[in-house]
Protein backbone atom coordinates (compact mmCIF):
# COMPACT_ATOMS: atom_id res chain seq x y z
CA UNK A 1 0.00 0.00 0.00
CA UNK A 2 1.30 3.48 -0.76
CA UNK A 3 0.65 4.21 2.85
CA UNK A 4 3.56 6.60 3.27
CA UNK A 5 1.41 9.33 1.80
CA UNK A 6 -2.03 7.85 2.17
CA UNK A 7 -1.91 7.11 5.88
CA UNK A 8 -1.11 10.66 7.06
CA UNK A 9 -3.65 12.07 4.63
CA UNK A 10 -6.38 9.83 5.97
CA UNK A 11 -5.34 10.55 9.55
CA UNK A 12 -5.56 14.29 8.92
CA UNK A 13 -8.91 13.79 7.21
CA UNK A 14 -10.24 11.85 10.20
CA UNK A 15 -9.08 14.65 12.51
CA UNK A 16 -10.97 17.19 10.39
CA UNK A 17 -14.00 14.90 10.44
CA UNK A 18 -13.94 14.79 14.24
CA UNK A 19 -13.73 18.58 14.25
CA UNK A 20 -16.79 18.62 11.99
CA UNK A 21 -18.61 16.37 14.47
CA UNK A 22 -17.62 18.30 17.57
CA UNK A 23 -17.25 21.85 16.21
CA UNK A 24 -20.87 22.96 16.65
CA UNK A 25 -21.03 21.59 20.19
CA UNK A 26 -17.79 23.35 21.11
CA UNK A 27 -19.07 26.67 19.74
CA UNK A 28 -22.34 26.12 21.59
CA UNK A 29 -20.50 25.44 24.84
CA UNK A 30 -18.40 28.61 24.43
CA UNK A 31 -21.46 30.74 23.69
CA UNK A 32 -23.30 29.41 26.73
CA UNK A 33 -20.97 31.60 28.80
CA UNK A 34 -22.20 34.72 27.00
CA UNK A 35 -22.93 37.73 29.19
CA UNK A 36 -26.42 38.97 30.03
CA UNK A 37 -26.56 41.55 27.22
CA UNK A 38 -25.06 39.24 24.58
CA UNK A 39 -27.01 37.36 21.96
CA UNK A 40 -26.73 33.77 20.74
CA UNK A 41 -23.73 34.63 18.55
CA UNK A 42 -20.21 35.98 18.62
CA UNK A 43 -18.58 38.11 19.85
CA UNK A 44 -18.58 37.14 23.50
CA UNK A 45 -19.11 40.45 25.28
CA UNK A 46 -18.11 39.16 28.65
CA UNK A 47 -17.73 35.74 30.18
CA UNK A 48 -20.43 34.94 32.68
CA UNK A 49 -22.59 32.13 33.98
CA UNK A 50 -25.67 34.31 33.76
CA UNK A 51 -27.50 32.02 31.34
CA UNK A 52 -26.98 29.02 33.61
CA UNK A 53 -28.51 30.97 36.46
CA UNK A 54 -31.30 32.03 34.16
CA UNK A 55 -31.95 28.41 33.18
CA UNK A 56 -32.09 27.28 36.79
CA UNK A 57 -34.39 30.18 37.73
CA UNK A 58 -31.77 31.92 39.86
CA UNK A 59 -31.60 35.09 37.79
CA UNK A 60 -33.88 37.79 39.14
CA UNK A 61 -35.16 39.94 36.31
CA UNK A 62 -35.00 39.01 32.70
CA UNK A 63 -36.27 40.08 29.31
CA UNK A 64 -36.16 36.42 28.25
CA UNK A 65 -38.73 33.97 29.53
CA UNK A 66 -37.41 30.94 31.28
CA UNK A 67 -37.13 27.63 29.45
CA UNK A 68 -39.95 25.35 30.59
CA UNK A 69 -37.64 22.53 31.57
CA UNK A 70 -38.52 21.71 35.19
CA UNK A 71 -41.63 19.54 34.92
CA UNK A 72 -40.81 18.31 31.45
CA UNK A 73 -37.44 17.03 32.66
CA UNK A 74 -39.14 14.95 35.35
CA UNK A 75 -41.64 13.63 32.82
CA UNK A 76 -38.88 12.68 30.40
CA UNK A 77 -36.91 10.86 33.08
CA UNK A 78 -40.02 9.02 34.29
CA UNK A 79 -40.95 8.05 30.74
CA UNK A 80 -37.40 6.92 29.96
CA UNK A 81 -37.34 4.88 33.16
CA UNK A 82 -40.67 3.17 32.40
CA UNK A 83 -39.52 2.49 28.84
CA UNK A 84 -36.20 1.08 30.06
CA UNK A 85 -37.85 -1.39 32.42
CA UNK A 86 -40.43 -2.64 29.91
CA UNK A 87 -38.13 -2.71 26.85
CA UNK A 88 -35.29 -4.47 28.62
CA UNK A 89 -37.60 -7.07 30.12
CA UNK A 90 -39.25 -7.68 26.75
CA UNK A 91 -35.86 -7.72 25.03
CA UNK A 92 -34.42 -10.34 27.40
CA UNK A 93 -37.54 -12.48 27.17
CA UNK A 94 -37.77 -12.45 23.39
CA UNK A 95 -34.02 -13.00 22.96
CA UNK A 96 -34.43 -16.07 25.21
CA UNK A 97 -37.20 -17.26 22.92
CA UNK A 98 -35.05 -16.76 19.83
CA UNK A 99 -32.31 -19.04 21.19
CA UNK A 100 -34.26 -21.91 19.70
CA UNK A 101 -35.74 -21.79 16.25
CA UNK A 102 -39.50 -21.73 16.39
CA UNK A 103 -42.21 -21.60 13.80
CA UNK A 104 -42.56 -18.09 12.45
CA UNK A 105 -39.32 -16.86 14.02
CA UNK A 106 -38.30 -15.19 10.74
CA UNK A 107 -41.38 -12.95 10.40
CA UNK A 108 -41.40 -12.33 14.16
CA UNK A 109 -37.79 -11.12 13.94
CA UNK A 110 -38.56 -8.65 11.18
CA UNK A 111 -41.71 -7.50 12.94
CA UNK A 112 -39.69 -6.59 16.02
CA UNK A 113 -36.98 -4.86 13.97
CA UNK A 114 -39.63 -2.86 12.11
CA UNK A 115 -40.18 -0.82 15.26
CA UNK A 116 -36.74 0.77 15.03
CA UNK A 117 -36.82 1.23 11.26
CA UNK A 118 -40.10 3.09 10.77
CA UNK A 119 -39.63 6.87 10.93
CA UNK A 120 -40.96 8.47 14.09
CA UNK A 121 -43.23 10.91 12.25
CA UNK A 122 -45.11 8.04 10.64
CA UNK A 123 -45.70 5.95 13.77
CA UNK A 124 -46.47 9.12 15.69
CA UNK A 125 -49.08 10.10 13.13
CA UNK A 126 -50.48 6.57 13.07
CA UNK A 127 -50.77 6.46 16.84
CA UNK A 128 -52.43 9.88 16.91
CA UNK A 129 -54.96 8.79 14.27
CA UNK A 130 -55.60 5.54 16.13
CA UNK A 131 -56.19 7.27 19.44
CA UNK A 132 -58.50 9.74 17.70
CA UNK A 133 -60.51 6.94 16.15
CA UNK A 134 -60.73 4.90 19.33
CA UNK A 135 -61.34 7.96 21.48
CA UNK A 136 -58.30 7.35 23.70
CA UNK A 137 -56.81 10.47 25.27
CA UNK A 138 -53.22 11.09 24.26
CA UNK A 139 -50.71 11.29 27.11
CA UNK A 140 -47.00 10.92 27.55
CA UNK A 141 -47.47 7.99 29.94
CA UNK A 142 -49.91 6.25 27.57
CA UNK A 143 -49.69 6.66 23.82
CA UNK A 144 -46.14 8.07 23.85
CA UNK A 145 -44.99 5.36 26.22
CA UNK A 146 -46.25 2.63 23.88
CA UNK A 147 -44.35 4.15 20.94
CA UNK A 148 -41.19 4.53 22.99
CA UNK A 149 -41.34 0.85 23.89
CA UNK A 150 -41.95 -0.11 20.25
CA UNK A 151 -38.90 1.95 19.32
CA UNK A 152 -36.42 0.89 22.04
CA UNK A 153 -37.47 -2.75 22.37
CA UNK A 154 -35.72 -3.79 19.09
CA UNK A 155 -32.46 -2.27 20.34
CA UNK A 156 -32.67 -4.14 23.64
CA UNK A 157 -33.64 -7.29 21.73
CA UNK A 158 -30.67 -7.07 19.33
CA UNK A 159 -28.21 -6.45 22.18
CA UNK A 160 -29.54 -9.47 24.08
CA UNK A 161 -29.54 -11.59 20.91
CA UNK A 162 -25.85 -10.82 20.44
CA UNK A 163 -25.17 -11.77 24.07
CA UNK A 164 -27.07 -15.07 23.82
CA UNK A 165 -25.19 -15.92 20.61
CA UNK A 166 -21.99 -16.20 22.63
CA UNK A 167 -23.69 -17.86 25.58
CA UNK A 168 -22.32 -21.19 26.77
CA UNK A 169 -25.39 -23.40 27.10
CA UNK A 170 -23.60 -26.10 29.09
CA UNK A 171 -23.53 -24.08 32.32
CA UNK A 172 -27.32 -23.91 32.26
CA UNK A 173 -27.57 -27.59 31.48
CA UNK A 174 -25.21 -28.37 34.38
CA UNK A 175 -27.43 -26.41 36.72
CA UNK A 176 -30.61 -28.03 35.43
CA UNK A 177 -29.18 -31.54 35.64
CA UNK A 178 -28.26 -30.88 39.26
CA UNK A 179 -31.97 -30.46 39.90
CA UNK A 180 -32.13 -26.67 40.15
CA UNK A 181 -35.47 -25.32 38.99
CA UNK A 182 -35.53 -23.33 35.71
CA UNK A 183 -36.46 -20.14 37.58
CA UNK A 184 -33.55 -20.56 39.99
CA UNK A 185 -31.24 -21.40 37.10
CA UNK A 186 -32.19 -18.19 35.34
CA UNK A 187 -31.72 -16.13 38.47
CA UNK A 188 -28.47 -17.70 39.71
CA UNK A 189 -26.75 -18.80 36.49
CA UNK A 190 -28.11 -17.19 33.33
CA UNK A 191 -28.83 -13.69 34.58
CA UNK A 192 -25.42 -12.98 36.14
CA UNK A 193 -23.75 -14.06 32.89
CA UNK A 194 -25.95 -11.93 30.62
CA UNK A 195 -25.92 -8.96 33.02
CA UNK A 196 -23.47 -6.81 30.97
CA UNK A 197 -25.87 -7.19 28.03
CA UNK A 198 -28.83 -6.22 30.20
CA UNK A 199 -26.94 -3.14 31.32
CA UNK A 200 -26.21 -2.18 27.69
CA UNK A 201 -29.83 -2.77 26.71
CA UNK A 202 -30.92 -0.53 29.58
CA UNK A 203 -28.50 2.19 28.52
CA UNK A 204 -29.78 2.06 24.94
CA UNK A 205 -33.43 2.12 26.00
CA UNK A 206 -32.96 4.96 28.44
CA UNK A 207 -30.97 7.29 26.21
CA UNK A 208 -33.10 6.63 23.13
CA UNK A 209 -36.33 7.21 24.99
CA UNK A 210 -35.01 10.22 26.92
CA UNK A 211 -34.09 11.96 23.66
CA UNK A 212 -36.96 10.69 21.51
CA UNK A 213 -38.83 13.49 19.90
CA UNK A 214 -40.59 12.60 16.64
CA UNK A 215 -42.59 9.79 18.23
CA UNK A 216 -43.65 11.99 21.12
CA UNK A 217 -44.62 15.06 19.12
CA UNK A 218 -48.12 13.91 18.08
CA UNK A 219 -48.80 11.58 20.96
CA UNK A 220 -47.84 13.37 24.17
CA UNK A 221 -51.04 15.35 24.52
CA UNK A 222 -50.99 18.42 26.75
CA UNK A 223 -48.03 17.74 29.06
CA UNK A 224 -44.74 18.12 27.26
CA UNK A 225 -41.63 16.01 27.60
CA UNK A 226 -38.21 17.62 27.56
CA UNK A 227 -37.45 17.36 23.80
CA UNK A 228 -40.90 18.81 23.05
CA UNK A 229 -40.26 21.75 25.38
CA UNK A 230 -36.97 22.39 23.58
CA UNK A 231 -38.61 22.08 20.17
CA UNK A 232 -41.19 24.64 21.22
CA UNK A 233 -38.48 27.26 21.69
CA UNK A 234 -37.17 26.74 18.14
CA UNK A 235 -39.99 28.69 16.57
CA UNK A 236 -39.24 31.83 18.57
CA UNK A 237 -35.94 33.65 18.82
CA UNK A 238 -33.26 31.65 20.58
CA UNK A 239 -31.15 32.90 23.47
CA UNK A 240 -27.99 31.54 25.06
CA UNK A 241 -30.06 29.88 27.79
CA UNK A 242 -30.80 27.07 25.34
CA UNK A 243 -27.03 26.68 24.86
CA UNK A 244 -26.54 26.46 28.61
CA UNK A 245 -29.26 23.85 28.65
CA UNK A 246 -27.46 21.93 25.89
CA UNK A 247 -24.26 21.85 27.92
CA UNK A 248 -26.10 20.63 31.02
CA UNK A 249 -27.93 17.83 29.15
CA UNK A 250 -24.65 16.76 27.58
CA UNK A 251 -23.11 16.59 31.06
CA UNK A 252 -26.11 14.59 32.29
CA UNK A 253 -25.70 12.09 29.44
CA UNK A 254 -21.99 11.72 30.06
CA UNK A 255 -22.67 11.10 33.75
CA UNK A 256 -24.96 8.27 32.68
CA UNK A 257 -22.24 6.94 30.37
CA UNK A 258 -19.64 7.10 33.15
CA UNK A 259 -21.96 5.26 35.56
CA UNK A 260 -22.51 2.63 32.89
CA UNK A 261 -18.75 2.39 32.30
CA UNK A 262 -18.03 2.00 36.02
CA UNK A 263 -20.71 -0.68 36.46
CA UNK A 264 -19.35 -2.52 33.42
CA UNK A 265 -15.79 -2.32 34.71
CA UNK A 266 -16.78 -3.50 38.14
CA UNK A 267 -18.67 -6.40 36.65
CA UNK A 268 -15.90 -7.51 34.29
CA UNK A 269 -13.38 -7.23 37.15
CA UNK A 270 -15.57 -9.56 39.21
CA UNK A 271 -15.95 -11.96 36.31
CA UNK A 272 -12.19 -12.11 35.72
CA UNK A 273 -11.66 -12.81 39.42
CA UNK A 274 -13.94 -15.84 39.08
CA UNK A 275 -12.09 -17.18 36.08
CA UNK A 276 -8.84 -16.60 37.99
CA UNK A 277 -10.11 -18.89 40.73
CA UNK A 278 -10.88 -21.56 38.18
CA UNK A 279 -7.33 -21.43 36.87
CA UNK A 280 -5.91 -21.92 40.36
Amino acid sequence: MESRLLRPTLAAYTAIFLLFLYGPMIVLAILSFQSIDGGPQFPIRDWSIYWYEHLLGLAETSRVSQLPVGDSLLRSIALAFMTTVVSTTLGVMSAEAFRTRFKGSGPAFYLIILGMMVPGVLVGLGMALLSNTLGIARAWWGTSFVLHVVYTYPFAFLVMLAIFNRFDRTVEEASLSLGVSPAQTFRRVTFPIIFPGVLSAMLFSFTLSYDEFARTLFTAGRDLTLPLAIYGTFSVEIYPNIFAFGVLTALFSFTLLVIYGLLMKRFTAKASRFSGQEDA
Binding site: M1, E2, L10, T14, V121, L122, T249, S253
Partner: protein, 241 residues
Protein backbone atom coordinates in the same frame (compact mmCIF):
# COMPACT_ATOMS: atom_id res chain seq x y z
CA UNK B 1 -63.42 13.37 13.00
CA UNK B 2 -65.36 13.21 9.77
CA UNK B 3 -65.85 9.60 8.76
CA UNK B 4 -67.07 9.77 5.16
CA UNK B 5 -64.82 8.12 2.63
CA UNK B 6 -63.55 10.63 0.13
CA UNK B 7 -60.61 11.12 -2.19
CA UNK B 8 -60.67 14.89 -1.70
CA UNK B 9 -57.41 14.99 0.28
CA UNK B 10 -55.64 12.90 -2.34
CA UNK B 11 -56.90 15.16 -5.11
CA UNK B 12 -55.77 18.22 -3.23
CA UNK B 13 -52.36 16.71 -2.56
CA UNK B 14 -51.74 15.53 -6.09
CA UNK B 15 -52.94 18.74 -7.72
CA UNK B 16 -50.95 21.13 -5.53
CA UNK B 17 -47.57 22.30 -6.72
CA UNK B 18 -46.48 22.90 -3.10
CA UNK B 19 -47.06 19.31 -2.03
CA UNK B 20 -45.65 17.71 -5.15
CA UNK B 21 -42.70 20.04 -4.66
CA UNK B 22 -42.27 18.62 -1.16
CA UNK B 23 -41.94 15.11 -2.62
CA UNK B 24 -39.24 16.39 -4.94
CA UNK B 25 -37.47 18.29 -2.10
CA UNK B 26 -37.57 15.19 0.11
CA UNK B 27 -36.06 13.01 -2.62
CA UNK B 28 -33.44 15.59 -3.52
CA UNK B 29 -32.32 16.17 0.07
CA UNK B 30 -32.30 12.44 0.71
CA UNK B 31 -30.10 11.76 -2.30
CA UNK B 32 -27.65 14.60 -1.57
CA UNK B 33 -27.34 13.69 2.12
CA UNK B 34 -26.92 10.01 1.25
CA UNK B 35 -24.10 10.75 -1.19
CA UNK B 36 -22.56 13.29 1.20
CA UNK B 37 -22.50 10.81 4.10
CA UNK B 38 -20.85 8.17 1.88
CA UNK B 39 -18.26 10.60 0.49
CA UNK B 40 -17.51 12.19 3.87
CA UNK B 41 -17.71 8.97 5.88
CA UNK B 42 -15.93 6.43 3.68
CA UNK B 43 -12.36 7.80 4.11
CA UNK B 44 -12.90 7.93 7.87
CA UNK B 45 -14.08 4.32 7.89
CA UNK B 46 -11.14 3.39 5.66
CA UNK B 47 -8.72 4.93 8.13
CA UNK B 48 -10.29 3.46 11.27
CA UNK B 49 -11.09 0.05 9.81
CA UNK B 50 -8.00 -0.65 7.75
CA UNK B 51 -5.16 1.72 8.57
CA UNK B 52 -5.36 1.74 12.37
CA UNK B 53 -3.91 -1.57 13.51
CA UNK B 54 -3.97 -0.80 17.21
CA UNK B 55 -7.25 -2.18 18.62
CA UNK B 56 -7.39 0.33 21.48
CA UNK B 57 -6.94 3.28 19.16
CA UNK B 58 -9.53 1.82 16.81
CA UNK B 59 -12.09 1.58 19.62
CA UNK B 60 -11.17 5.04 20.89
CA UNK B 61 -11.76 6.58 17.45
CA UNK B 62 -15.11 4.82 17.07
CA UNK B 63 -16.17 5.93 20.55
CA UNK B 64 -15.16 9.49 19.64
CA UNK B 65 -17.51 9.27 16.65
CA UNK B 66 -20.38 7.95 18.77
CA UNK B 67 -20.10 10.26 21.81
CA UNK B 68 -22.02 13.16 20.18
CA UNK B 69 -25.00 10.80 20.05
CA UNK B 70 -25.29 10.95 23.77
CA UNK B 71 -26.21 14.60 23.57
CA UNK B 72 -29.71 15.65 22.62
CA UNK B 73 -30.57 15.47 18.92
CA UNK B 74 -32.32 18.84 18.99
CA UNK B 75 -29.36 20.47 20.69
CA UNK B 76 -27.05 19.09 18.01
CA UNK B 77 -29.32 20.62 15.38
CA UNK B 78 -29.56 24.00 17.09
CA UNK B 79 -25.77 24.03 17.59
CA UNK B 80 -25.40 24.73 13.86
CA UNK B 81 -27.08 28.12 14.24
CA UNK B 82 -24.23 29.91 16.07
CA UNK B 83 -21.87 28.09 13.73
CA UNK B 84 -23.37 29.12 10.40
CA UNK B 85 -25.21 32.37 11.12
CA UNK B 86 -24.19 35.70 9.60
CA UNK B 87 -22.48 36.51 12.91
CA UNK B 88 -21.55 32.89 13.39
CA UNK B 89 -18.23 31.17 13.95
CA UNK B 90 -17.54 30.30 10.30
CA UNK B 91 -18.22 33.80 9.01
CA UNK B 92 -16.19 35.28 11.84
CA UNK B 93 -13.19 33.07 11.09
CA UNK B 94 -13.37 33.71 7.34
CA UNK B 95 -13.60 37.47 7.91
CA UNK B 96 -10.65 37.45 10.33
CA UNK B 97 -8.59 35.55 7.79
CA UNK B 98 -9.53 38.12 5.18
CA UNK B 99 -11.00 35.55 2.79
CA UNK B 100 -14.33 37.34 2.67
CA UNK B 101 -15.24 40.94 3.45
CA UNK B 102 -19.01 40.48 3.77
CA UNK B 103 -20.57 37.69 5.84
CA UNK B 104 -21.87 34.81 3.74
CA UNK B 105 -25.64 34.73 4.06
CA UNK B 106 -26.37 31.47 2.30
CA UNK B 107 -24.85 29.46 5.18
CA UNK B 108 -27.85 29.55 7.51
CA UNK B 109 -31.60 29.40 6.87
CA UNK B 110 -31.09 27.80 3.50
CA UNK B 111 -31.07 24.33 2.03
CA UNK B 112 -27.31 24.38 2.50
CA UNK B 113 -27.56 24.48 6.30
CA UNK B 114 -30.08 21.63 6.26
CA UNK B 115 -27.70 19.52 4.17
CA UNK B 116 -24.70 20.30 6.40
CA UNK B 117 -26.66 19.60 9.56
CA UNK B 118 -28.07 16.30 8.32
CA UNK B 119 -24.70 15.16 6.98
CA UNK B 120 -23.08 15.80 10.35
CA UNK B 121 -25.83 14.11 12.32
CA UNK B 122 -26.22 10.99 10.15
CA UNK B 123 -22.65 10.50 8.93
CA UNK B 124 -21.78 8.21 11.83
CA UNK B 125 -24.45 5.72 10.74
CA UNK B 126 -22.44 5.36 7.54
CA UNK B 127 -19.01 5.26 9.19
CA UNK B 128 -19.98 2.50 11.63
CA UNK B 129 -21.15 -0.26 9.24
CA UNK B 130 -18.38 0.45 6.70
CA UNK B 131 -15.71 0.33 9.41
CA UNK B 132 -17.18 -2.96 10.60
CA UNK B 133 -16.96 -4.52 7.13
CA UNK B 134 -13.46 -3.13 6.47
CA UNK B 135 -12.25 -4.43 9.82
CA UNK B 136 -13.24 -7.95 8.76
CA UNK B 137 -11.03 -7.91 5.65
CA UNK B 138 -8.21 -10.42 5.95
CA UNK B 139 -5.03 -8.34 5.79
CA UNK B 140 -3.17 -11.21 4.11
CA UNK B 141 -5.43 -10.83 1.05
CA UNK B 142 -4.29 -7.23 0.66
CA UNK B 143 -0.66 -8.23 1.27
CA UNK B 144 -0.92 -10.97 -1.35
CA UNK B 145 -2.25 -8.46 -3.88
CA UNK B 146 0.56 -6.06 -3.06
CA UNK B 147 3.19 -8.80 -3.37
CA UNK B 148 1.79 -9.54 -6.80
CA UNK B 149 2.47 -5.91 -7.72
CA UNK B 150 -0.97 -4.37 -7.48
CA UNK B 151 -1.06 -0.63 -6.83
CA UNK B 152 -3.21 0.77 -4.02
CA UNK B 153 -5.70 1.99 -6.61
CA UNK B 154 -6.14 -1.53 -7.95
CA UNK B 155 -6.29 -3.05 -4.47
CA UNK B 156 -8.93 -0.53 -3.47
CA UNK B 157 -11.02 -1.08 -6.59
CA UNK B 158 -10.76 -4.85 -6.75
CA UNK B 159 -10.63 -5.89 -3.08
CA UNK B 160 -11.47 -3.19 -0.54
CA UNK B 161 -14.43 -1.55 -2.28
CA UNK B 162 -16.31 -4.79 -3.15
CA UNK B 163 -15.78 -6.18 0.36
CA UNK B 164 -17.03 -2.98 1.99
CA UNK B 165 -20.16 -2.68 -0.17
CA UNK B 166 -22.46 -4.47 2.31
CA UNK B 167 -21.38 -1.91 4.92
CA UNK B 168 -22.19 0.93 2.53
CA UNK B 169 -25.60 -0.65 1.91
CA UNK B 170 -26.43 -1.10 5.59
CA UNK B 171 -25.31 2.46 6.25
CA UNK B 172 -27.39 3.69 3.33
CA UNK B 173 -30.49 1.98 4.71
CA UNK B 174 -29.96 3.60 8.12
CA UNK B 175 -29.32 7.05 6.66
CA UNK B 176 -32.18 6.79 4.13
CA UNK B 177 -34.78 5.83 6.69
CA UNK B 178 -33.73 8.60 9.03
CA UNK B 179 -33.37 11.34 6.44
CA UNK B 180 -36.65 10.51 4.70
CA UNK B 181 -38.49 10.74 8.02
CA UNK B 182 -36.77 13.99 9.01
CA UNK B 183 -38.46 17.25 9.78
CA UNK B 184 -36.76 18.82 12.82
CA UNK B 185 -33.51 19.73 11.07
CA UNK B 186 -35.36 21.31 8.16
CA UNK B 187 -37.70 23.12 10.54
CA UNK B 188 -34.96 24.67 12.65
CA UNK B 189 -32.18 25.29 10.11
CA UNK B 190 -33.96 26.17 6.88
CA UNK B 191 -36.00 29.07 8.18
CA UNK B 192 -39.13 27.35 6.78
CA UNK B 193 -37.70 27.48 3.26
CA UNK B 194 -37.21 23.75 2.95
CA UNK B 195 -40.39 21.72 3.30
CA UNK B 196 -39.98 17.97 3.50
CA UNK B 197 -42.88 15.55 3.60
CA UNK B 198 -42.21 15.25 7.34
CA UNK B 199 -42.67 19.01 7.74
CA UNK B 200 -45.96 18.81 5.86
CA UNK B 201 -47.20 16.08 8.17
CA UNK B 202 -46.22 18.13 11.23
CA UNK B 203 -47.84 21.33 10.00
CA UNK B 204 -51.03 19.55 8.90
CA UNK B 205 -51.36 17.81 12.27
CA UNK B 206 -50.72 21.18 13.88
CA UNK B 207 -53.76 22.58 12.08
CA UNK B 208 -55.73 19.39 12.82
CA UNK B 209 -56.05 18.35 9.17
CA UNK B 210 -55.69 14.67 9.96
CA UNK B 211 -56.81 13.30 6.61
CA UNK B 212 -54.33 15.43 4.77
CA UNK B 213 -51.50 14.48 7.13
CA UNK B 214 -52.45 10.85 6.52
CA UNK B 215 -52.12 11.35 2.75
CA UNK B 216 -48.63 12.78 3.20
CA UNK B 217 -47.87 9.89 5.55
CA UNK B 218 -48.94 7.30 3.00
CA UNK B 219 -46.85 8.98 0.29
CA UNK B 220 -43.85 8.99 2.61
CA UNK B 221 -44.40 5.32 3.52
CA UNK B 222 -44.49 4.38 -0.18
CA UNK B 223 -41.24 6.25 -0.84
CA UNK B 224 -39.44 4.67 2.13
CA UNK B 225 -40.68 1.18 1.24
CA UNK B 226 -39.51 1.63 -2.34
CA UNK B 227 -36.07 2.88 -1.25
CA UNK B 228 -35.53 0.00 1.18
CA UNK B 229 -36.80 -2.57 -1.31
CA UNK B 230 -34.34 -1.20 -3.84
CA UNK B 231 -31.46 -1.30 -1.34
CA UNK B 232 -32.27 -4.89 -0.34
CA UNK B 233 -32.40 -5.88 -4.00
CA UNK B 234 -28.91 -4.49 -4.55
CA UNK B 235 -27.40 -6.44 -1.69
CA UNK B 236 -28.48 -9.68 -0.06
CA UNK B 237 -27.97 -8.75 3.57
CA UNK B 238 -28.46 -12.20 5.06
CA UNK B 239 -25.83 -13.66 2.73
CA UNK B 240 -23.31 -10.92 3.39
CA UNK B 241 -23.54 -10.61 7.16
Amino acid sequence: MNSTLTTASWERFLSSATYLGAIWTTLRIWLIVLIATIVVGYPVALFIGLFVRNKTLQTALLVACVIPFWTSFLIRVIAWRPMLGTEGAINMILMKLGIISEPLTFLLFSEFSVLVGMTQIYCVFMVGPITFMLGRIDVSVIEAARDLGASFGTIFRRIILPLSMPGVMVGSIFVSVMVLGEFATAASLSGRKTNLLGNIIVSQVGSLKWAFAAVAGVVLTIIITAVIALALRLVDLRKEM
